[in-house]
Symmetry: C2
Subunit: 211 residues, 2 copies
């Protein structure tokens, strides 16, 4: 597959959406789709879709459309959902537990292998078959199991210290639910932020500024 | 305060970040800040910051910088965090409970007044002092309490039916944790989507496509 050298962030951010939509079509037994039909369903223009998919070498055939199974698998590969990246979760409060229980890590290319919290009272409790460990065991666990990704569900004030430790332990990516600006201090890490309160405030703005 | 008539979505999406950063500065007792310093801390260019804040009439003074308290309060007002919008949560599974327990709704302009689930076994349990109600009571509750916003933490396949019901009950905004594409079917609703699995797949892409 021919890849363009530079793919812009907005295109990358749309790939999971393509993957989801194609996954639904595939589940419904649909075999092919035109860019026009895909555009109607996704609320993007057809030319946008053709442009996006061209970034990755293009999977369409003129007059036939896209083969859904093939496109789904290719985008999955590009996204790395066929990987099995060892992942730990740090912070087993309400949010951490919900993320661990709710999210299908394995379907997205991640393998959740450890859960840590600083609260000793939680140690030994199980989430999805994984025991919660006290944070003091992080160093040894990482030396033994080499996690590549950490999910951060901890208060912002302890985030910097933890990330520093994780970087020294060779963690390469963070799924960040804190407000700590990781990329500013650790530009080499792959970081994906989920700022729930920003999203809620954006909704508030929309509600309060309807025409 | 002079407002431009059209403010682009990317600017709006940055406002909560300004609000957060200014909140931290304010908490630390800092009274003013230049756009250069704000840009260094936020990882945006100074001219971007000046442009963004100009959309809302501008709060800076040449040679002085921005008054943090004033800017914080003004952006808060623009975002509507001083509002008290009646809000319900639908879906009290792992994710719904975590959102209800974890999120400071009142600090973002929302008042969580009701929680619903289709699981009868949950009815009567409390989340943050709010009893979980069976979904069959949604109609009467909305007639009596007129919620304006609903947080959706339910499976995608029941989402369309619920949103239809909510629209008929005068709900105006949805904080959507499902993958159901609400805006396609209900363009008049204010919708803010949180697609956790898309975010996780974007992280996967980043990890697997480092230069």
């Amino acid at each position: 597959m021919k890849k363009n050298t530079y793919i812009s962030l907005p295109v990358i951010k749309r790939l999971p959406r393509y993957y989801r939509f194609l996954g639904v079509l595939r589940k419904n037994g649909i075999e092919k789709i035109s860019s026009n039909e895909l555009s109607r369903r996704m609320g993007l223009t057809a030319s946008q879709i053709r442009q996006d998919l061209n970034c990755f070498g293009g999977f369409g055939q003129q007059g036939y459309g896209y083969n859904i199974e093939q496109l789904y698998n290719e985008i999955g590969k590009i996204l790395g959902v066929d990987k099995n990246t060892p992942t730990i979760l740090i912070g087993a409060g309400n949010l951490g537990r919900a993320i661990a229980s709710h999210m299908s890590f394995s379907e997205r290319g991640f393998d959740l292998i450890g859960v840590f919290d600083k609260n000793e009272a939680l140690a030994g409790q199980m989430i999805k078959g994984i025991p919660i460990r006290h944070i003091s065991g992080l160093y040894n666990f990482c030396k033994d199991n080499s996690p590549v990704v950490a999910v951060l569900c901890i208060p912002e004030d302890s985030a910097k210290e933890i990330v520093e430790q994780l970087v020294n332990l060779n963690v390469k990516g963070i799924w960040n639910f804190t407000h700590y600006n990781i990329s500013a201090d650790f530009p080499s890490l792959s970081v994906e932020n989920v700022h729930l309160s920003d999203s809620l405030m954006t909704l508030s703005y929309q509600l309060n500024n309807k025409d």
